[in-house]
């Protein structure tokens, strides 16, 4: 029997993860509402004339980062139950394939989160977005999600196995994704036109997001097997 290709494994793992989420509805019923309540709490904490409107881009991405921690924990909790990840490895699947599959599934979920959070910002924080801004937002969301997912899948692999490991994820993940927060927030400011930021100032940030995503997709493909090796 020939070994399945990395690409096929990735697709299979991603499809499996998304199927689990569709059926268990944990993301939809627990984590999405969490992201929503974070947006409401920001409004309580920062309720000053016009402040919310100005800082809305940052709040959208902070809420995304917080949610991404829970989504990553969730996606690896699924793997640690019944030692599912060990089973995947014993089956001889290439770790790079498992990693890329995790990244795909995480990216899909994070894009969904960002869409919901942007809509919430439009409704709750009275920001508005033009058509050009929407294109920029979609691009930002895609690129930032890939970077976040790659980083999350890498460090999420470490958090498997109990013994207080879950608490390690935020400590490793949040400093590492600071470039995403900076770039995505600046791009979103341009998309929302916050503080009169022109749209064209948003696009250069895509370069940083792209480099980040590419670098850690590469790093994860190489390092994931070692990180989850028990």
């Amino acid at each position: 029997m020939s070994r399945p290709s990395t690409y096929k494994v990735a697709l299979a793992v991603a499809a499996k993860d998304l199927r689990i989420e569709r059926r268990s509805k944990v993301v939809a019923n627990q984590i999405l509402p969490f992201a929503g309540i974070v947006m409401v709490l920001f409004a309580f904490a920062l309720d000053n004339d016009g402040i919310l409107q100005r800082v809305a881009p940052g709040l959208v991405w902070l809420a995304t980062l917080f949610s991404s921690i829970i989504v990553v924990q969730r996606t690896f909790a699924v793997e640690s139950a019944d030692n599912a990840l060990d089973a995947l490895r014993v089956a001889g699947l290439p770790p790079a394939g498992v990693f890329l599959g995790k990244v795909m599934a995480l990216t899909a979920q994070l894009v969904l989160f960002e869409a919901v959070l942007v809509v919430l910002a439009l409704v709750l924080y009275q920001v508005s977005v033009s058509l050009g801004g929407a294109v920029l937002l979609v691009t930002t969301g895609m690129l930032a999600s890939i970077g976040l997912a790659a980083m999350g899948a890498l460090y999420g692999g470490l958090s498997i196995g109990g013994r207080g490991r879950e608490t390690l994820l935020p400590l490793l993940l949040l400093p590492a994704v600071a470039p995403i927060l900076i770039a995505a927030t600046r791009a979103t400011e341009a998309a929302f036109g916050s503080d009169g930021t022109p749209l064209r100032e948003g696009w250069p940030w895509m370069g940083l997001l792209g480099v980040f995503g590419a670098l850690f997709l590469f790093g994860g493909t190489l390092g994931f097997g070692t990180l989850t090796d028990e």
């Binding site: 470490l158 013994r163 390690l168 600046r186 990180l227 028990e230």
Partner: protein, 273 residues
């Protein structure tokens, strides 16, 4: 390589050698004497700075600690790479990386403290969101995370592999973080921070004191890493032989008495193997 670390006797704790060797003892004495001399130079023999006054004396500590912290993280990265790509996967490289990161976090903390004290007096604030400071804070947190990864448990080889990958990922992260922070600041430049180190021409003795400080702190780094690395080696050996000792104890119990009921040396068996 690590098999030689495993003590043959079953009671390693009582016969554990000190982490001192004649060479590292001499180094330690030299470091202490150097620190005393540095303190004398920095506090008494050098003049006050024309612009900064006495606060410039913080620099004789601040600059060396920052240098040592960065050096330590380079050593951690090199040790991790040497471990991963070495044919033997030598745990010595892993322990050097770990010891160096510990010392690096300590010195980075000192850098942040001395820097913010200096900043309070010179800039009027403890903290400035300047790229260099921000990246330094990120480094600090990142290596705290690295040390946490080292403490995850598992076998020594697992620990070494895991932490080596995390250390190399950190090497990828840091330039990106720094670059993005620079971009972030370039957009939101409110006021240019006074850059006192830009146009200061240093008096000879001040420059000498600064360089001497760097040399003494580097020696202190080597000294601390040597000892920490030896302590880590012993800790690993205790974990390994602790299990053997517990097994041997159970065997002797089984041979000696028949009325044993579940008494074991559970306190010392390697529970995180």
């Amino acid at each position: 390589m690590n098999t030689s670390l495993r003590p043959a006797s079953t009671a390693p704790a009582s016969t554990a050698p000190p982490t001192r060797t004649p060479a590292s003892f001499k180094l330690g004495v030299a470091v202490i004497l150097g620190m005393v001399l540095l303190a004398l130079l920095g506090l008494f023999f050098t003049d006050e700075d024309i612009v900064q006054g006495s606060t410039v004396r913080i620099m004789y500590v601040h600059v060396p600690t920052a240098w040592v912290a960065y050096l330590a993280f380079v050593v951690t990265a090199l040790g991790s790479a040497a471990y991963l790509w070495g044919k033997q996967h030598s745990l010595t490289f892993d322990r050097v990386a770990g010891a160096s990161a510990e010392v690096g976090v300590l010195f980075m903390g000192l850098t942040l403290v001395t820097g913010s004290l200096w900043g309070r007096i010179t800039w009027g604030t403890y903290w400035q969101w300047d790229p260099r400071l921000t990246t330094t804070a990120f480094l600090f947190v990142t290596y705290i995370g690295y040390l946490a990864v080292r403490g995850l448990g598992g076998t020594h080889q697992q620990r070494a592999k895991r932490s080596a990958v995390v250390a190399l990922l950190a090497v990828l992260e840091i330039p990106l973080v720094h670059f993005s922070v620079v971009l972030w600041r370039s957009l939101h430049q409110e006021a240019s921070v006074l850059r006192p180190d830009g146009d200061v021409t240093m008096d000879g003795l001040m420059l000498f004191t600064l360089l001497f400080g760097v040399a003494v702190f580097t020696a202190a780094f080597v000294w601390l890493v040597l000892h920490r690395q030896r302590v880590l080696t012993m800790a690993d050996a205790v974990e390994t032989s602790g299990l053997d000792a517990a097994v041997a104890m159970r065997r002797s119990e089984a041979g000696g008495t028949d009325g044993k009921d579940g008494t074991d040396g559970s306190g010392i068996d390697g529970s995180d193997r």
